[in-house]
């Protein structure tokens, strides 16, 4: 029996990672690629909150979805924010809260102010419970 005295670290290399033809999963979530139409902000809000990338482990998908949501939220006028929140159901408000807190994590120039306005309206709709659900959720957006 010949014992392999040379290092066997090659056995731990994942060869498939280095294959050029490697299959990459279809990306899900995020329908409007071109940014929201000025006229149909409500529709854009509903669409961007559909199919959230909760189950995927792909960080790129999540980042793109978050960017889109942020774009839609910033394009709302301050007076329309309340109507936007009213048009969502309970799960929608919880999901919106998740995106708001995700957006707080990486503040850009004007994002925090806009997000704070959305936060105030979402809080009055969802109550403290919706924030607790953001904190205890196992699958993040």
């Amino acid at each position: 029996m010949s014992k392999n005295t040379v290092s066997d670290r090659f056995r731990k290399v994942d060869v498939d990672e280095y294959d050029e033809n490697k299959f990459v999963d279809e990306e899900e979530g995020g329908e409007n690629q071109l940014g929201p139409d000025e006229g149909n902000l409500m529709g854009a809000l509903q669409a961007v909150l559909k199919n959230p990338p909760i189950n995927t482990k792909n960080q790129n998908v999540k980042d793109r979805a978050e960017g889109l949501v942020l774009k839609v939220l910033s394009s709302f006028k301050s007076t329309d924010i309340e109507k936007g929140v009213q048009s969502l159901d309970k799960n929608g408000v919880d999901l919106l809260m998740k995106y708001i807190y995700k957006g707080f994590e990486r503040p850009s120039e004007n994002s925090s102010a806009v997000l704070l306005q959305w936060h105030e309206k979402a809080l009055s709709a969802g109550g403290v419970g919706s924030i607790v659900r953001v904190l205890t959720a196992r699958k993040t957006v």
């Binding site: 403290v128 419970g129 919706s130 607790v132 659900r133 205890t136």
Partner: protein, 369 residues
């Protein structure tokens, strides 16, 4: 409804005796204090000192008048009253983490202890050896068991755990009882069998309760939801996301109504409609004192706007009866079918007794179905 302030320390757990004249509480330390009611006052009658760690659960068996306590020292003691003194008997639970909750079974021949060792110890008394023996339910529990409740048939046990699930196990011990009749949750009930496992809610399950018939189980979890499951060929689960802080304890007061309380410091009513399988919020069960409305000067308005970015001044004082989270709720009389009075204890060291009839008349829209 009356509030009695026992001490300033939180009351970690409490238990009542059969005629509700004595209450055993643990003031967040290694001891159990038993208070007797004399007139309008509560007088300390006994101090039970045996545990080496904080007491996490107390239960008082009404018929046999025995108290079981469990603590963070990984032990449980069964106390029997001999003359005027409570004598402890150690029960070896074979756990290597703290015990978290304990309940007597309805027939009082067994009790179950939930612990941080990710298992439930079901203990029964073995006559030949004059000793309490325990059996473990381990699978498929993956984290600490926070709360337990027995089904009225003395065999099924509902357990809420930190692995985000509420499960119903069979705790059938053939040495002390006969085979149970089939129930809504299933007919084959060997020891340790999982009859039901919840899906859908996430968050630690803080409180669990069977209804009086045993056909429904309700649980409160840390993601601010309350859920009810009804047994049947396929168990039907309904949950309600509430707008309040998480609830810590829940109990049925009729077959269709639940009262729950938690970090918001006031009890809340929920109503379950089995025809539509829907759970709805019934109302806040607290009668706040009407605080005098002070008019606000312009200076105060400006100060509020500066400090809090809003004009109204919510008082920083809680208006509810309890001043801190409510950790346990227990039924005083009427049972789970037609509860007339229930009692809550909390982290503010207070114990409040609530009368269902006065609450019903005080809240105009309240309907206890």
């Amino acid at each position: 409804m009356s509030l009695h302030q026992f001490l300033l320390e939180p009351i970690t757990c409490h238990a009542w005796n059969r005629d509700r004249t004595q209450i055993a509480i643990s003031p967040n330390n290694h001891e159990v204090h038993i208070y007797k009611k004399s007139g309008n006052q509560w007088v300390k009658a006994h101090e039970l000192k045996e545990h080496n760690g904080h007491i996490t659960g107390i239960d008082w068996a009404p018929e046999s008048n025995r108290i079981v306590t469990c603590g963070t020292d990984r032990n449980a003691y069964v106390w029997t009253l001999k003359g005027d003194v409570w004598k402890p008997t150690l029960v070896i639970l074979r756990i290597n983490r703290a015990a978290r909750c304990v309940t007597w079974s309805p027939k009082e021949n067994k009790f179950a202890v939930g612990s941080g060792s990710r298992l439930i110890s079901v203990c029964y008394f073995e006559q030949e050896n004059d000793w309490w023996v325990c059996k473990h339910i381990k699978k498929p529990i993956r984290s600490t068991i926070l709360c337990l409740d027995w089904h009225p048939n003395n065999v099924l046990l509902a357990a809420g755990s930190c692995d985000f699930k509420c499960r119903i196990f069979s705790a059938y011990i053939k040495e002390v009882e006969e085979k149970p009749a089939p129930t809504a949750w299933g007919s084959k009930m060997p020891f340790g069998e999982v009859m039901f496992e919840s899906t859908g809610t996430s968050g630690w399950v803080h409180g669990v309760c069977f209804s009086d018939s045993g056909n429904r189980v309700a649980w409160a979890s840390h993601d601010s939801t309350v859920a009810v499951a009804e047994g049947g060929k396929t168990a039907v689960c309904t949950s309600l996301s509430s707008e309040t802080l998480p609830l810590l304890c829940v109990t049925f007061i009729t077959e269709n109504s639940l009262v729950a309380a938690g970090h918001d410091c006031y009890p809340v009513l929920f109503v379950y409609d089995s025809n539509n399988a829907a759970l709805s919020f019934g109302g806040k069960l607290d009668v706040p004192k009407q605080s005098a409305q002070k008019g606000m000067t312009a200076r105060e308005r400006f100060q509020n706007l500066d400090k809090k970015a809003s004009v109204d001044s919510k008082e920083a004082v809680l208006e509810s009866v309890h001043k801190n989270s409510i950790s346990q709720i227990s039924i005083l009389n009427g049972g789970k079918a037609k509860c007339a009075k229930f009692c809550t204890t909390g982290m503010d060291g207070g114990m409040a007794i609530w009368d269902v009839k006065t609450l019903e008349s005080a809240m105009k829209d309240l309907k206890i179905v």
